[in-house]
Symmetry: C2
């Protein structure tokens, strides 16, 4: 039986493809520290389960296609903290940030068209585009430059007649970059000059360090009708398994068309929306405490990396990822070796090779992504394992 070319062209998840080897390592009795996936260990605020447990209707009925009114209202209120106004008819609830991104791509691009994305990028952007015949046109950024954007001219030079949108993750997954207001304004100028949509994935908005704040595209003037903001409770409130995201836009035509996509899948789970509405009302202190915790972890991780000879890595300022360029040829081989050959007192560590986070073939082969999502003691041990493993690997491969 023949399968579609588009599904065959889809990349296997680079974050998940080493999982079977980790399972094998565990079966052999090794302890594997996971720095490979963005599943935080932070507790979900208890308000989520309280709201879910309090559901007392006898029927688990459909919610509205655009979302539960209480959740939409809570998100509208949440944006006001950042000086951003999205009215309730400008917000749609989605199955995680994932569905929000898919809807944004389908509504703005036809088959054969393309989207500009700074690389390395969140690898699932590949799935969201390839599956619907849209391609990613990458804007290359580098470890040496802390993954900040190139000049306006370089970005303009990438635009083709088929380009329909710019899509960014800010703060960045997998780079940890937080784009400056000036960088966003340059993207806004490009979007205006070339008539592009701006799809701004801001799910890591709260995760910025060193006193920095993340400028939202909701704060950039003059592009209100072309900005689409994607959000999610997954990382913000450590509720990845709730799968509640949202899509905001001041462009009424966009909202009208996306509502058709929402209607065709009927609705997002009712209970999870009630839980998410409660999360958006959790006091600011929760977010502040989580932020402090991640900044501490960022410092632990960066401190180890910066002391290893030959590692290139600028201190990232957002999200909970660090990309490090290692003094080796092939990070995927190294990651596999760490699972299959290495251990230190029975322990090893898993991280993600970064090559598949680039659209340009050949880039990032010597880079790894570390998700600093373990608590202090485990993170220190995991980073020690990385350092020891790297030294041993270099020795073996001399």
């Amino acid at each position: 039986m023949q399968l579609s070319k588009r599904v065959q062209a889809m990349q296997q998840s680079p974050v998940r493809k080493l999982v079977p080897f980790a399972e094998q390592a565990k079966k052999k009795g090794k302890k594997v520290y996971h720095l490979n996936i963005g599943q935080p260990d932070i507790k979900t605020p208890k308000e989520f389960m309280e709201a879910v447990r309090n559901y007392d209707s006898e029927v688990i009925a459909y919610s509205f296609s655009n979302g539960e009114p209480s959740l939409i209202k809570a998100i509208s209120e949440y944006y006001k903290r950042f000086g951003i106004t999205y009215n309730e008819d400008e917000i749609l609830i989605t199955n995680g940030g994932s569905e929000a991104l898919i809807f944004a791509v389908v509504a703005t691009c036809d088959a054969g068209e393309e989207i500009l994305v700074p690389e390395p990028f969140y690898t699932n952007y590949n799935g969201f585009t390839t599956g619907v015949n849209v391609s990613i046109n990458p804007i290359t950024t580098t470890a040496e430059n802390g993954f900040h954007l190139p000049s306006k001219e370089e970005i303009l030079a990438r635009v083709t007649p088929k380009t329909r949108a710019i899509m960014i993750s800010n703060p960045g997954n997998p780079t940890g970059v937080v784009y400056s207001k000036e960088e966003l304004e340059i993207l806004a100028e490009v979007a205006k000059e070339k008539n592009l949509w701006i799809i701004s994935d801001e799910v890591y908005r709260e995760f910025t360090y060193d006193g920095l704040t993340c400028t939202s595209f909701g704060n950039i003037k003059g592009v209100e009708d072309r900005v689409i903001i994607v959000d999610s409770v997954s990382k913000r409130y450590s509720a990845c398994g709730a799968r509640i995201g949202s899509l905001c836009s001041k462009n009424k035509d966009f909202i009208k068309e996306v509502i058709k996509l929402c209607q065709s899948r009927l609705c997002v789970p009712t209970l999870e929306q009630l839980g998410a509405a409660a999360l958006y009302k959790v006091e600011q202190k929760y977010l502040d405490d989580v932020n402090k915790e991640y900044m501490k972890r960022r410092d632990i991780t960066f401190d180890v990396l910066s002391k290893i000879n030959g590692v290139v890595c600028k201190k990232p300022t957002g999200a909970f990822y660090i990309i490090a360029k290692l003094p080796i040829d092939d990070a995927e081989k190294f990651a596999l070796w760490m699972l299959q050959e290495f251990d230190d007192n029975g322990d090893t560590v898993m991280f993600s090779p970064v090559a598949d986070f680039y659209a340009t073939k050949g880039l990032g082969k010597d880079e790894v992504r570390i998700a600093y999502i373990l608590e202090e003691k485990d993170l220190i041990r995991a980073m020690e394992l990385l350092k020891k493993g790297l030294e041993a690997y270099i020795k073996v491969n001399k």
Copy 2:
């Protein structure tokens, strides 16, 4: 700002587009009986909320991309009741039957290809295909023939070089038809002769009446490698708001490719999957009782329709829908008139015009779909309103 042609080509939900007029009617103080949407009033088994409430992890973490093992196991066990064997690696959990259908379409069809679907069909099939540049090639069925399939020759004549799959809903939404084993075998022959996939949407499997049972495509020999079965807890356990569906196939290549789609959206909500796993263990008596209740409602609805002069309607044997051909020109105008102009002691009734359930333009203009999802007393009153309204409408439009 330009929106994609594909999203603009998507139909507005015909089930939901009259909703604003119903809201207006309610604001004017009318009571509206809803026979327009498939949201049952049946209680969800209490096991669902018990399982959800018992979740005691402190983090709402990602589930597996292919689904929670306990739910997959429960579904595998459930199929055994029907003599169908799907192993745990042949089952994937999805965001409702909706996502299962989208994944099946994306994985089997490329942009520009098409799927054979008996019309009238569940209108969201339009959204699932148009959004990903696949078109529906309809096999027309008629009220006079109880919406059964035409001959093998007629079906074969519809196949073009671009046809990749046959998609059916069995028991049928919106028709209430239950296809015979012989009809499925004819489809199987067509699929084998023309090398097509078979996407079998069996979410109404339990809803069959008059002692009839629904033959699953899982019971048809010789097409195991081309059959994809879509299921859902929405109607079966009156848990529409849980959004838990599934996709089964014995074709390992298909499963492998769809797992990429699953991975790109990470997972289905964790809590809802635990609730759904509990539902699949609910005793058979629940399903039997629900079945009896719907058969009673089917009889009430059909009894009224069959006594109205000029109505064409064969007694349907499955799901909870009836399509009736009315002695009027335009069912959408009639539905609107019922909301805007008609009332009987302040009451009116809402149903779905069926024209948009056909892909062939011009068909079904005089047909309505009635979802018999109200309890006895309300249903009797709703059907009385339909009868009175129809008589008044015919009088006014003479």
